[in-house]
C-alpha cells in the first residue's frame, strides 16, 4: 500500500540540515516500542540528536559529522557525501580521505572528501579498503581533528574507533597491512572552516544518484556475496516491511570480497547464532517483529517453524524480548561455520479433534489453542470471566458473598423458604 511506501521513503530530519535523511521504516524505535535502540543519539558528539519513539529528532546544532549514520545498525539515517567510492581506479598513489572542513584547494589531487572522517564508520572504511585493492587508504588528520566538535570530549580523532574496528576485522583475515592509516598532515589552524560545512559544491553525486546507489547497493548486497566459497550466504526473499541492514551487509560484503581474494573463509564471529529451546510454542511473534527478516516463518513438508539467517541478524534483541516463552537467545557462534539460511525450529502440525483445523503445538495437546480456550471458558463460566466471580445482581436476588459456593447458596434459599 502507499502507506508503506511513504514509510520507506527518505525524509529530511530537519530543514536546517537538508543533507541528513531518515527512513521511518528502518528506524528500530519507530518500528516497535520495545526497542531501546539509542545508537544515533549516543553517537552524536554534540548531543543534537535525541532518539524518540517517533524517530530521531534533531534539536540542537548539528555539526554535520555523520557519526549518527555510522552508528545506526539498520542504516535508517544517511547523509549525502558519506556513501563515497574511490574515484580513479587506475591510480596507484595512496587514496587520501579528507574532511569537508578543509578548504578544497588544500586537499591533495584526487582526494575523497567526506563531511567528516568519523562519519565513515568501519563498514564504509572496509569497503574503501576492498575497492581500492592494493592501493593504500590514508585518512588525513589535519591537526585539528581532536579539537573539532565532532570529536566530542574524548580528544581523539572521531574516526579512531572505526579505525580500530576496521583494523581488527582485517586482522582476522590476516590482512593487517591493508588497514587504512591515519596520516598526520597538519594545516595552519586559520584554515579550519568553523561553520558547519554544507554539501553544496561538495557532493559530486546527485541526490538521485545517491538514492539509486543506496537502493542498488542494498538490493545487490545479498547476491554479490554469493559465490564466496564455503561462507556463501543465500539471498533471502524480503518480506514486505522488512529492512536491509545496509551497514551490516556492507561490512560482510567487503570482508567476503577480501576473504575470497585471500582464499579464506569469513570469521565465525561475524555471524551470530539463534538458540531456540524446547519451550518454543511456534507463536512466531519473534519472526513477525524481526526488523530485518533474519528470522522468517516457514511452512514446509517438515512442518511449521522458523528459519534463521545470521547474515541479516543485527542482534537487536527484539526476538528475545518479545518471546512469551523466553525460548530464543541470540549468541556468538560456536564452532559450526556459517552456511546461510538454516531451519531453526520445526513443529509438527496436528489436527484439532474438535474443529479439525491444523495447528502446531506441543505433543500433549489434542485441541487447537482456540478450542482449548473455548473449553476453558465453558468450564469457568463466561460470566465469571467477564464480570468477576460472584457478581451481585442489584435488584434481583440476594447479594451473594464473593466466596460463596453454589451449595451454600442453595442452603440459603432453603432456609428462607
Amino acid at each position: 500500500m502507499s502507506e508503506s511506501a511513504e514509510q520507506s521513503a527518505w525524509h529530511r530530519l530537519s530543514d536546517a540540515q537538508p543533507w541528513l535523511l531518515w527512513q521511518e521504516n528502518a528506524c528500530l524505535p519507530a518500528r516497535s516500542p520495545l526497542s531501546d535502540c539509542r545508537a544515533c543519539s549516543q553517537a552524536c558528539p554534540v548531543d543534537a540528536l535525541t532518539a524518540t519513539p517517533k524517530g530521531p529528532q534533531l534539536t540542537g546544532d548539528c555539526v554535520a559529522c555523520g557519526r549518527c549514520t555510522a552508528a545506526c545498525p539498520t542504516g535508517a539515517i544517511n547523509g549525502a557525501g558519506l556513501d563515497s567510492h574511490p574515484g580513479d581506479d587506475q591510480a596507484t598513489a595512496p587514496l587520501a580521505v579528507d574532511c569537508w572542513r578543509v578548504p578544497p584547494e588544500q586537499s591533495p589531487e584526487g582526494a575523497l572528501r567526506v563531511p567528516c572522517l568519523g562519519g565513515l564508520g568501519s563498514d564504509r572504511l572496509l569497503r574503501l579498503v576492498q575497492e581500492c585493492g592494493e592501493r593504500p587508504v590514508e585518512l588525513l588528520d589535519r591537526g585539528w581533528c581532536a579539537d573539532c566538535p565532532a570529536a566530542a570530549d574524548c580528544r581523539r580523532p572521531p574516526v579512531d574507533q572505526a579505525l580500530t574496528e576496521c583494523r581488527e576485522a582485517l586482522a582476522s583475515l590476516g590482512l593487517t597491512g591493508r588497514s587504512p592509516s591515519l596520516r598526520k598532515a597538519p594545516l595552519p589552524a586559520h584554515l579550519y572552516r568553523r561553520e558547519t560545512p554544507t554539501p553544496g559544491g561538495e557532493t559530486r553525486v546527485s541526490r538521485r544518484g545517491l538514492f539509486r546507489r543506496l537502493a542498488g547497493h542494498a538490493a545487490g548486497a545479498a547476491e554479490q556475496i554469493q559465490g564466496t566459497g564455503p561462507a556463501a550466504p543465500a539471498a533471502v526473499p524480503m518480506v514486505s516491511g522488512r529492512v536491509q541492514p545496509a551497514p551490516r551487509l556492507r561490512r560482510v560484503e567487503a570482508l567476503a570480497a577480501l576473504a575470497v581474494a585471500q582464499d579464506q573463509s569469513l570469521p565465525n564471529t561475524l555471524f551470530p547464532q539463534a538458540k531456540i529451546s524446547d519451550a518454543c510454542c511456534n507463536h512466531r511473534i519473534c519472526a513477525a517483529l524481526c526488523p530485518t527478516g533474519a528470522l522468517q516463518p516457514v511452512e514446509d513438508e517438515d512442518g511449521s517453524g522458523l528459519d534463521y539467517d545470521p547474515l541479516f541478524c543485527i542482534r537487536c534483541g527484539l526476538c528475545q524480548q518479545v518471546c512469551p516463552e523466553k525460548a530464543i537467545t541470540i549468541t556468538e557462534r560456536d564452532g559450526h561455520p556459517y552456511v546461510g539460511r538454516v531451519p531453526a525450529t520445526r513443529h509438527h502440525r496436528q489436527r484439532c479433534q474438535r474443529c479439525h483445523t491444523t495447528f502446531t503445538a506441543g505433543k500433549e495437546h489434542t485441541l487447537c489453542p482456540g478450542c482449548r480456550k473455548d473449553a476453558a471458558l465453558a468450564q469457568d463460566s463466561g460470566r465469571d470471566l467477564l464480570f468477576g466471580a460472584g457478581s451481585s445482581s442489584g435488584a434481583a436476588g440476594p447479594a451473594q458473598d464473593p466466596g460463596t459456593q453454589p451449595g451454600d447458596h442453595d442452603d440459603q434459599e432453603d432456609t428462607r423458604r
Binding site: R31, P33, L34, A288, C355, T357, S391, A395, A396
Partner: protein, 249 residues
C-alpha cells in the same frame, strides 16, 4: 476535539440484537465476529432466576490496556479522532497480545472455524488482500484505522463507526438519530436501536445530552476497577449492571 462517548440504557434495551446486525452490515464483519455483541447470561436460582443481557461494544477506554501491550504500536488511541482506539492494519502482526490484555473481550481475530457452515471466506474468497469479499462492501476503507474489510492475520475491533462520526460538523454536543441534520453521522448501532437505548455524544462537552443523562441516571462503567476508564457508560437501576466483587481465591 470531541471525546466521543456512548451511553447504553439497560432499562430500555430489549436484547433484540439489531445493533449487532447493523454493525455487521455497516462494517462487513465476518459472521461470528461481532464488534458489537449482546451477551446473555442467567442470574439467580430457581424460582427467582432471571435471564439478562448486556450489549457490549468496544469501550474505547481512556487508558486502554490493549494499547500498552502492542509491540508494534499498531493499536493506538487517537485523541484527535474523538479518543477512539484504532488498529492500524498496516502495522498489526496478529500477535493477539491486545486480545489477552483487553478486559472486555472486544477484539477479534478471525481464524476460527465458523459455527455455521459454509465458511463465508470460502464462499466469497478475498481479493486485494482482504480476508473475504462479500457481495456488498461498504466503500469506506482506511487500513490505518482498521476500517474496511480486514486483511488476513490482523486483529479488528469496533471503531465507533469512525467513517461516519468523523464527518459530523465540528463541535456538535450529541449525535442524535432524531436530528435529520445529523442522522447520517450516527454510529450504526445507535442509529438502529429500536427502543432508543443508546445515546452518542461528546463527553468533553458539558452541554451534551450524554453527560446530562450519565449524571442524572448515575451512569456506570463496566469493570471500573481495572482503571481502563471506558468511554461507554451503562444506565439502568432495574436492569442491574453486573457489578464486580473481587474473587477470594
Amino acid at each position: 476535539m470531541a471525546k466521543w462517548g456512548m451511553v447504553i440504557d439497560l432499562d430500555k434495551c430489549t436484547g433484540c440484537q439489531a445493533c449487532t446486525t447493523a454493525c455487521a452490515m455497516e462494517n462487513n464483519t465476518l459472521p461470528g465476529e461481532s464488534w458489537q455483541d449482546v451477551l446473555y447470561y442467567n442470574e439467580g436460582e430457581y424460582p427467582s432466576a432471571q435471564m439478562k443481557w448486556l450489549p457490549r461494544p468496544c469501550m474505547q477506554c481512556e487508558d486502554p490496556s490493549c494499547v500498552h501491550v502492542c509491540p508494534t504500536r499498531a493499536t493506538y488511541k487517537d485523541p484527535d479522532a474523538g479518543g477512539i482506539v484504532f488498529v492500524d492494519w498496516n502495522k498489526c502482526i496478529g500477535c493477539k497480545y491486545c486480545m489477552i490484555a483487553c478486559p472486555y473481550g472486544v477484539r477479534f481475530y478471525a481464524d476460527e472455524q465458523p459455527l455455521i457452515e459454509p465458511d463465508m471466506r470460502d464462499v466469497y474468497p478475498g481479493e486485494n488482500g482482504q480476508m473475504w469479499s462479500p457481495p456488498y462492501q461498504n466503500p469506506e476503507q482506511d487500513w490505518r484505522r482498521g476500517i474496511g474489510i480486514q486483511p488476513k492475520g490482523v486483529v479488528s475491533k469496533c471503531t465507533f463507526c469512525y467513517h461516519k462520526v468523523s464527518k459530523a460538523p465540528e463541535g456538535v454536543p450529541d449525535l442524535d438519530e432524531d436530528d435529520p441534520e445529523l442522522v447520517e453521522y450516527v454510529p450504526a448501532c445507535v442509529r438502529t436501536c429500536p427502543p432508543k437505548a443508546r445515546y452518542f455524544g461528546d463527553l468533553d462537552n458539558p452541554e451534551s445530552n450524554v453527560n446530562r443523562i450519565i449524571g442524572d441516571k448515575h451512569g456506570v462503567r463496566l469493570l471500573d476497577h481495572t482503571g481502563n476508564r471506558p468511554q461507554v457508560y451503562y444506565l439502568g437501576a432495574g436492569a442491574g449492571v453486573p457489578a464486580f466483587s473481587p474473587r477470594n481465591s
